[in-house]
Symmetry: C2
């Protein structure tokens, strides 16, 4: 796993905006950096990992940190399943990827596309927006769920 942000790089980015580097923020970023390619965590997932590591970080701080890092463009916020968000490192090409999600069972497949990245960058630039993340999300029904006929569906 590539270490995109060292603690000092994170500190520099935070301080530039009048914010501070705390042990909590450092640990949370580190956890995401050690995550296997394509893995993503919900706030609850992350909190449980922290507990397992004997890191006593409150759930509030977890939520606050996730939001902060996402707004900084360091994490990306994913809407893969119903009910809660997932987060993963926002990596540049060629690690940048998109998601194909089954709306029934939430099974997710990742795929890459440089053309999409280009479209996103171009659009943002055209309107003077500062790009943070661009993600194509495909909502679909997976082969298994197409076969199953669950009532209520």
């Amino acid at each position: 796993m590539v270490n995109l942000y060292s603690a000092s790089a994170l500190k520099a980015e935070l301080n530039a905006k009048g914010w501070r580097l705390t042990p909590q923020r450092e640990i949370i970023l580190q956890i995401f950096q050690e995550l296997p390619q394509g893995d993503h965590l919900s706030a609850e997932d992350l909190h449980q990992r922290l507990v397992a590591l004997d890191q006593d970080i409150s759930l509030s701080t977890v939520y606050r940190t996730l939001k902060l890092l996402a707004r900084m463009g360091i994490l990306r916020q994913l809407e893969l399943a119903e009910g809660h968000k997932h987060y993963e490192l926002n990596q540049p090409h060629p690690y940048h990827h998109h998601h194909l999600v089954c709306v029934k069972c939430s099974k997710t497949i990742e795929f890459k596309s440089t053309s999409i990245l280009n479209v996103g960058a171009k659009q943002a630039q055209e309107y003077g927006y500062k790009l943070l993340d661009c993600q194509l999300t495909i909502h679909a029904i997976c082969p298994e769920c197409q076969r199953s006929l669950i009532p209520g569906w």
Copy 2:
């Protein structure tokens, strides 16, 4: 506004799955069809419009109907602002579009791209998924918000 789904077409689609056409569902679909291009509603927005029209439809039914229509591929579920989803008609090419969203103020710009639609269709097909919707969401910071220095940001 093009009337993509007549009441009878909606009824046919519902009945094919053992579901029923109710006045509530018909009115809700109609509201989306009469919405100006690019407009989208949250559950709460929709409910207030119904109240304004003297249509006494409960908020529960609004939520249930939105979910149903989205799962049928008639509506698309958008994640544009924090905290709640928005819905709009899921229209085909050339009305199909994507969103550039400011993560600070939620200001949203729409744009079209046929190449993205192609990427989405291709990916879904490759894995045998039945495509419902594909949307590129670009998270960025708009020019105004780049200038303003709101504390906490």
